[in-house]
């Protein structure tokens, strides 16, 4: 499966899929779609990415964040320090000839964290109403409508939770299984 054309196509298509899945997620309340379908589309994008590039690459590209920093020497002002750190992180350029050592934090988003977050979001969208002495999962809607997305309320939050959870679950499956 790891032909060059396939992997290149996948690399190009993945962001499109991701955008499309988010679109599906938010239009779901009025048109076919919703959290499940959105989450599944999104995860299928990643599934193909995993199939094309292997789980290691996918998780490095999409699910890990590397934050670079160094301890601020006295000579650097705060602004300068902040700018340098920002540049290092965003443009991925580090001046290696600097006297100080760069260190980094490596954050990996495990799929199970996504699962937990999704579950938490879904549950807390219901808990909101408990605070207002209403039954669990009573919906609250914003008074105004957003362009493209439409009206926003706690059910949308719930749907988002479903989306994240489905994504997390499928990723968990795929990561583990492709390592087997």
């Amino acid at each position: 499966m790891k032909t060059i054309i396939f992997s290149t196509a996948i690399r190009l298509l993945t962001p499109v899929f991701l955008l499309f899945s988010v679109y599906i997620l938010f239009r779901g309340h009025n048109h076919p779609g919703g959290g499940f379908i959105g989450g599944l589309i999104c995860s299928i994008a990643f599934v193909f990415h995993v199939l094309a590039h292997g789980p290691g690459v996918t998780s490095r590209v999409f699910f890990s964040v590397v934050l670079y920093y160094y301890s601020r020497p006295k000579s650097h002002s705060y602004t300068r320090y902040a700018l340098r750190v920002l540049r290092a992180n965003f443009r991925n350029k580090r001046d290696t000839d600097e006297p100080h050592k760069w260190s980094f934090v490596f954050l990996r988003i495990r799929p199970l964290y996504l699962v937990a977050t999704g579950l938490l979001l879904a549950a807390s969208s219901g808990i909101v109403s408990l605070l207002g002495q209403k039954p669990f999962m009573t919906s609250y809607w914003l008074k105004f409508e957003l362009p493209v997305i439409g009206s926003i309320g706690t059910p949308s939050l719930f749907d988002l939770g479903v989306y994240l959870l489905v994504l997390g679950v499928v990723l968990q499956f795929i990561f583990i299984m492709s390592k087997e």
Binding site: N30, H31, P32, F36, V169, F173, E180
Partner: protein
């Protein structure tokens, strides 16, 4: 189609049960998946088939225009499909693990723990 589908479902059920009763592990998992599929379609058909519209309220209306499909079985079905997916995924992994652990694809080798 309302008359044909029950028979299709019956055939699906029969085939799935036949697979489940097979002593080949691979057939067992296929049988389970087919069984899930059959129950899902059963749920869909028993909820009533409409050749009418989808269960979506049109832009121009505030309430749905009859005839429209009953959304309840669809919602139940969606839930059931996803639940079924979770269970089946687990079952597939389990069977894979059984393969590895027992080095056999014969279900009849699995009666020692009792």
């Amino acid at each position: 189609m309302e008359l044909l589908l029950p028979f299709l479902i019956g055939i699906l059920f029969s085939v799935s049960i036949y697979f489940i009763l097979h002593r080949h592990l691979f057939k067992l998992i296929m049988g389970l998946i087919l069984f899930g599929l059959a129950t899902n379609i059963f749920l869909f058909v028993v909820g009533g088939l409409t050749n009418g519209d989808v269960a979506i309220i049109k832009k121009t209306h505030e309430v749905a225009v009859v005839p429209y499909a009953d959304p309840v079985p669809q919602a139940l079905l969606l839930t059931a499909i996803v639940i079924g997916f979770g269970l089946q995924a687990f079952a597939i992994v389990l069977i894979r693990k059984v393969y590895q652990s027992f080095k056999s694809n014969n279900l009849d080798d699995l009666h020692k723990a009792e």
